[in-house]
Symmetry: C2
């Protein structure tokens, strides 16, 4: 199959418009947008050396009288799997840890306080294969597996909260496997974990073959850099999942993902951003990048012949603010680190201004959902009775 020439980003194309018209389009598409965040020379030089696109943005926020600004820098890292998918697990781990070390070094030099990886960041996204052998070996104990241990050290060194989405092996519960995000605090201590709530069964996303719906609710992690939560991948299609983290007080919700192709890309800019608007928090969408090819062929449930690749993970990681403004996306084709400076005070400011929370009428919906889940629920339908 001839490789499709992927373009780098929408923003790059829009820049070809006359400046005033480009600005108009961006105003409608991206809201207030962000200012450039000037980063020091050192991380810029290093990111070039490591072949990581480095993009710095800053969201604006009003000053308040009673609360000082609560400025946080978040870092979203999107990356390709560094070795062929059929590499030995130990070699893969070494290569992906090296890549992570480099990204964390650039992030630390850029002043990042909270860093988040993409979904199942330390392995190929092998769930298209429906094979168990070897892939399940990537699953680790959340609290002290290889990946968590590796990151604890760096979190402490860099005084950085690190969110690490991995496959979790739950030995306490009979070797159940979960899709889990581990939160390590800036002192290098394990803070907690969240298990993916909604598991896809579509196309090559055969994840229900590997792990079950999460049982950790909608936890919010209180850190020195704000109240954080994680909505893992397919959960971004579920407004109720986003709402759950909002109800528990999240100020930043990360959406570590792995998604491909022409079908989901038009949804990518919509869902996390809608969640930021509806729930009054920052939403950080992270997608992996590149094409992953596997040793054995597999089919995709689309009537097409067996093949060996998962399609193109289109990157395009971005952050949306509660007021609807957003950053540009990272590249669709290369490793990248998005560093954004934001003021957590904006969350409450927007809630006060728009009033979406005050007008939410949750009691009505608690009743509606309680009724709707009954097997004999009768939908509220009005039809002509003649």
């Amino acid at each position: 199959m001839a490789e499709i020439q992927e373009f780098d980003s929408i923003e790059e194309i829009l820049e070809k418009l006359p400046k005033n018209e480009c600005d108009t389009v961006k105003r409608v598409l991206y809201g207030k947008g962000t200012d450039d965040l000037n980063l020091p020379q050192k991380p810029n030089a290093l990111s070039e050396k490591y072949n990581i696109q480095l993009l710095g943005c800053r969201f604006s926020c009003n000053k308040e009288e009673l609360r000082p600004p609560r400025i946080v820098r978040v870092g979203l890292f999107q990356h390709k799997t560094p070795l062929p998918t059929w590499s030995a697990i130990k070699e893969m781990r070494e290569a992906v840890f090296k890549m992570a070390s480099e990204a964390l070094e650039v992030a630390a030099l850029s002043g990042v306080n909270v860093f988040c990886f993409q979904e199942a960041w330390n392995m190929p996204f092998a769930f298209c294969t429906r094979e168990k052998q070897h892939w399940c070996e990537y699953a680790e104990i959340a609290e002290h597996g290889s990946t968590t241990s590796f990151l604890k050290e760096l979190a402490k060194r860099y005084n950085m909260v690190i969110i690490s989405p991995i496959l979790e092996r739950d030995e306490v519960h009979n070797d159940t496997i979960w899709n889990t995000a581990v939160v390590i605090d800036n002192h290098g201590d394990y803070l907690g974990k969240h298990r993916k709530n909604h598991i896809p069964r579509v196309g090559d996303f055969n994840e229900s073959t590997y792990y079950f719906e999460g049982n950790t609710g909608h936890p919010v992690f209180k850190t020195e850099f704000g109240k954080l939560a994680i909505n893992i991948c397919y959960g971004r299609h579920h407004p109720l999942n986003w709402l759950g983290f909002g109800l528990n007080g999240a100020e930043i919700v990360f959406n570590p993902s792995a998604t491909v192709g022409q079908l989901s890309e038009p949804l990518w800019g919509i869902e996390a951003r809608n969640a930021a608007i509806a729930n009054g928090y920052y939403a950080c969408a992270i997608n992996r990048v590149g094409t992953e090819t596997f040793a054995n062929e597999f089919t995709s449930g689309d009537g097409k012949p067996a093949h060996k690749d998962f399609g193109h993970f289109y990157g395009s990681s971005y952050i949306a603010a509660p007021n609807g403004s957003r950053t540009p996306g990272l590249s669709r084709t290369s490793n990248g680190l998005l560093v954004a400076e934001l003021d957590l005070n904006l969350c409450r400011q927007v809630k006060d201004h728009w009033g979406f929370q005050m007008t939410q009428r949750l009691d009505m919906y608690a009743d509606l959902l309680t009724e709707a889940i009954k097997p004999d629920y009768t939908p509220q339908v009005i039809s002509k009775t003649t």
Copy 2:
């Protein structure tokens, strides 16, 4: 104040890009998009005469073996208030009814089956003024007021379902005023009504001064042209409101709106489209157009001096399909009728494909909301216990 020169549409600007790059941008922004729907010469000529932009689109849908296609044409009409806001109510009504007659004539000639007006379509959007006198006189009995009676006749003549969002005067309940959408079926009979669930208190949207949160739940209206629902204006910021109509089986949800300015415009393309994706139905967003100036000055709660206009209603009405594709927007500056042909079968096809409904875990959220509404609810927060 010098009038700001408003541009006509984002799409018009994007067309200035080289064709292949314009296509790329549109693919990412709009998904599969729509094909042109060729409309006969007659409605085209009439719409020109009446100064109404007429835009025809068609969504694609797979053929099924067991169900024949269920093709429906919907018409969204966006318009300016035809007379100065201080005109006599009877004169205003006459003028706006004349305009509606013209739009309905064009719609009928375009084969429209279901027609929807913008929010409070038969009056100025006067809620910025906080004045009651005269404005409350626009409120009518939903079942047989002047507007409903006028439309019943046309609905029957054109064999068309008409959705008519008006101010409702509820004489049975002590002259309570509601913001209500009336549904008239294609035989000219009153089918039912829905009252706006979420009422804004932001900027010039002082609607809570005039009417209260609706008490009609989330009704779906079963018609010969599909199962329809109406999410009125500010309800589009509430994912739970969209969900309610989905739970009751809506196939098309109309969002008659009136919204202005740079703050909400970046949200406009996001929210109704997100709802279509999340709930597996067509979402039809309709905004009024033009600038409305009032006789008396008013303030907007933004620290700025008193003034007499509401800002620019930016039109841009559009339709999003359950697969995330959408039509272009109507003009930002002129009256317009968007006619879209769609196949209701797409709703179930997309639900089967993506599986968002099957994986929704409503039971978990019924429990969460039931807990969250308790005054002593303790959010699920994980913090270091040291």
